[in-house]
Symmetry: C2
Subunit: 386 residues, 2 copies
């Protein structure tokens, strides 16, 4: 009996000793295995591995407003709610046939998922993962469009783009069972991704089918969608684009927006007051992610194949490259610690995560990971438009 | 024996059931009683009350990078580390005779406290609260200045102002035992508070002894301290200033900085590219805190006595007031939820906290609190310059 008592006391003690805050946690996608690592970015350690998450070949993650749960959007339409305190799956549903990403509402109550098949978005309760609303992306003669560039926006809004229809839709889910949809037609040919400015004001979609970008000013929606940067895009039909740049990784810093020049070895610097081109910065390859450090001074860039072993750092003071690094084979993603002192980098073909000190570019640590791709820290819980 | 077994099992169960994420927690100062409430801003509830924290008549709070701990800086020089998962004091030291505020370093390893008596800052380990460095604010003939406007800044820096000396000091604590101090003399007469721009670039000190503001561009420290807004400040010697405005509450939003006009019933709108005055917005009283909603669209303003029963909301689109509220007697502080859907307001003389929906200005809930003053949410863990 004493043994059992001791055992129970031990359980009790352990569960107490395991108390875990959630401010410095993160999730790393292991794309090939369909698994995810829970990491701690204060200790630079892996805490747990969660398996059986389906096809994570193009996965993204958002976090509940309390940071306890990570929601993983899988390519196969799987939506998985991970409990970061218990290191396990809290709930998992297959919500569609082919999914591309998701977002969480400003108040944290709803998750929206954007789907290719069937084209549209579905809205779920974050609590139960039960379906709350289904918004098919219908256009023309009852056709369904692939949905891309889904973001949350202030005041109960989700915004997304219809790739096939060339439309931007703004959905108000204040009454989630009766979403109010505002459609902006003729927004541009084949929008392929989009971003929301960090202040929640501007929704900008990249266009694959034509040059320029589509801009919706959410403070002035009545003005409709405008075209900006008319020279931006894929000019030469024969120019190969090895990987579509991610707009979510575009850098908004001070007065500038830094974006990848599509198919070219350049980062473009845009003055975001007039949406005009300020400078073209030559870089080591076709940029994929162009990400601003949280302290606003530097922008980090990774590249498409065959230059994806490299990383470059742009100093915003002089708008020039101050550092080039070669972390390893196939640098896929970067994530900064919330205040920017470190950056985590996933190196798929070396099966590693590398952590750098952003002040001196020194390597702090390497951690093993199986074909890591996206890295997502719980600090995203507080950010709009992800 | 079975009873004891059951009891232990119960403890075990409870400690598990109590698992608590830290992303939606906050601390509310109860200034008269020297206590603090731990609150949850998803549930809009009070979780615990922590007593015996000394003189909290002018208290502020920062959070550890994992959001597990809140560090409370008391007026009496008390520095208390609260464990937000165990609802108790983890450690408490009396570090000086008269303290005014504090900051936590970018990497979360160090806490700095600014002191009036003896004038200077002291730097502590966040882990142990052991003293790591003592930086007396010595000037002139071995005199010690009161220290104000202490902030953390990127890359191992703390920055603060010397009220009596009229100096701004930038301290690098990369080697915390040998801090490197850069002193900017003649920075302006009697700096009384300061702020860091959210991107970590500009340190701006308000001046009590003369007009204008002192600006240090941290990207160009060699250019030294400049004076901006030369007409800003207390023009009329006889004009009473009922409460010194807090610079930490100045609003940076888009291209604008909104600041309280000292001693006047106005909020000033500054173009932060040229540091020029764009507009004066008449408001209901002498503004104290002028705070931008995280979604950047609105700015909330509270007031000094005798107008401190009011709150006003400025819309940034038209730079005009769109709402006036009268929450209760002595509105002291406001804190937005991380993505801005709610704002919490402390009403000292009504012994209440009021929670508003920022979309429609409706009251969501009132919670009891004993003479509440500052409200601090754990999302501050990720912010620079607090």
């Amino acid at each position: 009996m004493f043994k059992r008592l001791f055992f129970l006391a031990l359980i009790s003690f352990n569960s107490y000793a395991d108390l875990r805050a959630t401010g410095d946690l993160g999730v790393v996608i292991e794309r090939a295995e369909g698994s995810a690592l829970i990491i701690n970015h204060s200790q630079n350690t892996t805490l747990a591995k969660i398996k059986d998450l389906g096809d994570l070949s193009h996965a993204s993650v958002v976090f509940s407003r309390d940071q306890r749960y990570a929601f993983i959007f899988g390519r196969d339409g799987g939506l998985t709610k991970i409990d970061l305190l218990k290191d396990k799956v809290a709930k998992r549903v297959i919500q569609a046939g082919n999914s591309i990403g998701g977002a969480i509402s400003q108040d944290g109550q709803f998750i929206a998922v954007s789907n290719y098949t069937p084209g549209g978005i579905k809205i779920f309760s974050t609590e139960s993962l039960e379906l709350v609303a289904d918004v098919p992306a219908e256009y023309g003669d009852k056709k369904l469009s692939k949905v891309v560039g889904l973001v949350d926006a202030p005041k109960h809004h989700f915004i997304f783009s219809l790739f096939d229809a060339g439309e931007i839709w703004v959905v108000n889910i204040k009454n989630p069972e009766k979403p109010i949809i505002k459609k902006f037609k003729n927004s541009g040919k084949q929008p392929y991704d989009a971003l929301l400015s960090p202040d929640g004001r501007y929704y900008i979609a990249g266009l694959f089918g034509e040059q320029g970008l589509a801009l919706l000013d959410l403070w002035n929606v009545d003005q409709g969608v405008k075209r900006i940067l008319p020279d931006y895009g894929k000019k030469d039909e024969k120019l190969p684009v090895y990987k579509m740049p991610h707009l979510e990784g575009w850098a908004m810093a001070g007065d500038f927006m830094l974006i990848p020049a599509m198919g070219q070895h350049e980062v473009l610097v845009i003055d975001k007051r007039q949406w005009t081109l300020v400078k073209r910065i030559p870089v080591a390859g076709q940029p994929v992610f162009v990400m601003a450090q949280p302290d606003g001074r530097q922008v980090w860039v990774n590249f498409a194949f065959p230059d994806n072993q490299q990383l470059q750092v742009i100093d915003l003071k002089n708008l020039s490259i101050i550092k080039s690094l070669t972390p390893g084979k196939a640098v896929l993603h970067m994530e900064f610690t919330p205040r920017g002192e470190h950056v985590w980098v996933s190196i798929r073909d070396d099966n590693q995560l590398v952590i750098y000190d952003t002040e001196n570019f020194k390597e702090i640590k390497r951690l093993p990971a199986n074909k890591p791709s996206g890295i997502f820290f719980s600090s995203r819980a507080y950010k709009m438009g992800l």
